[in-house]
Symmetry: C2
Subunit: 299 residues, 2 copies
């Protein structure tokens, strides 16, 4: 990467918004769906990459991706996609990220490789003993949706979203910085966490909510669905996410998830006790705790 | 009501949309918040009531309600509000609905009295032995929000929303029909259910989601809230609802809620078992059940 990419200041912004930005001659998106497609659009629109090449493991969606302006061209293989590339962003379901990182590394051994996976520890661990480790910097843009596919991609999906970067002791400091700059140049905010810290946090903020939404949707008998109003719809919205995608996330992060789900079942026992006892004071206390936490975040 | 209200056809609509519509000289809204205020606005805009009088148990929000066009005038007492009125809609928290229905009945013994309470069985039961029973028809517009207060009221809040009408054996058939026509004339759809059926259904579609949203919000440590993205926000949105309002709902409907919450805790044990066993097939099966049910409803 250091050979061909250029760090420079963007002078078309106000002084206080100046930031270091990478420019890449060739960037590769592996997996051109909602996130991969949106990243491709932003890379092109913001001129962060001169050329964006898309590769799709199943070969689908590439024509749509070109038509929608998410990529400049497609490749038939990872090797072809990575030839001459300086940046690869792997946007596939989490269980294939480490394997694609290895494949990308073979084609661009001096490049920067990052991803968008919802779990980080298993990916970083899988690469730790490999030479890829120094080229790979884990990323997780908190910009998912229950929608999927490049047809829902949009250039501004990352705007002001938080991207968690998860370097570890094997990470190359220059590439960690370049990864942060990459996401910032695409409009996002960034923060650093260890892979373990990240996985424990998203077990609470993303994976537990998904399980509750899915279990709630499944538990609702079809005959009462006509009475489902906006509350039910909001609470269950994420349950429409891809089942294969989410099965992989839950498998990869199962230990932190088991811990928070066990804790949550314990919390529900408190609600059951208060309801069985008609304990209005305790019910209102529980409701206030939830309201206070939710109100703190706003819309 | 039969003395002064008029059933007639609305001729300014296409033939196939003609419907019987009540017109009321004077309608009373008890509790002018989000729902009461929105109903007042719709009653006035659609000329269903010539005059809308607001009464607020705590005396607050009435000036705002007048300023926002939710009511024509306010009254200092239920007796004053109900003098000469033909319709009263009680929009207070559920535990005070039956008492206000009694008070309205004293002031308008031939009128139609309905409500917007989220539970129905306890209200209908409280009135069953009273002469009010023939005048009261329970209603539940599925149009709530985590927002509250007349400042969020809007004329079209009821548009295409479902209102459940819960007549029982004591209900007067003419008034049941008039109640349906009332809600339809305000833009809503209606259906009839028994109070028990209604309460069992909303325990699943509304009250369980509220408990999960509230418990999830409360269970999320403040230090990971910066990682809460749209999934967490959607899943917990209803937790911002008023704690006193929801405490009353949970108390009034506690038996059906205990039953569905016990069932839900059992469902979560299935997820825990699948996670502990790394049973990907079972996890994907559970995720697919949720996705299928959620996808069936759309946005």
């Amino acid at each position: 990467m250091s050979k061909t990419s250029r760090l420079h200041f963007l002078h078309n912004r106000p002084l206080d918004e100046r930031q270091l930005v990478n420019q890449f001659d060739r960037a590769v998106i592996v997996g051109v769906g909602l996130l991969g497609g949106s990243i491709g659009m932003a890379l092109r629109a913001r001129k962060i990459a001169k050329q964006v090449i898309g590769f799709s493991p199943r070969g689908n969606s590439l024509e749509t991706a070109i038509a929608r302006g998410a990529i400049d061209a497609s490749a038939d293989s990872i090797a072809e996609a990575c030839r001459g590339a300086e940046l690869a962003i792997i946007c596939t379901p989490v269980q294939s990220v480490a394997d694609f990182a290895q494949q990308c590394f073979a084609g661009m051994p001096s490049g920067l490789i990052t991803d968008v996976g919802s779990t980080k520890q298993s990916i970083v661990a899988a690469l730790a003993q490999s030479p890829v480790a120094a080229n790979f910097v884990g990323s997780h843009p908190l910009a998912g949706s229950e929608k999927s596919g490049v047809e829902h991609a949009r250039e501004n999906l990352l705007d002001r979203k938080l991207v968690v970067i998860t370097p570890d002791q094997t990470s190359d400091a220059i590439r960690v910085q370049a990864t942060e700059q990459l996401w910032q140049s695409l409009g996002a905010r960034t923060c650093r966490m260890s892979p373990n810290e990240h996985d424990a946090a998203v077990a609470r903020t993303s994976h537990l909510p998904h399980i509750l939404a899915s279990a709630l949707a499944a538990a609702t008998p079809t005959e009462v669905l006509p009475l489902a109003a906006s509350g039910w719809c909001d609470t269950t919205r994420v349950a429409s996410g891809g089942a294969d995608l989410w099965r992989q996330i839950l498998e990869e992060n199962r230990q932190p998830i088991v811990a928070v789900l066990e804790g949550f079942v314990g919390d529900l026992q408190q609600w059951l006790t208060a309801l069985r006892d008609s304990d209005g004071i305790q019910l209102e206390k529980l409701l206030l705790e939830g309201k206070k936490k939710r109100d703190a975040l706003g819309n």
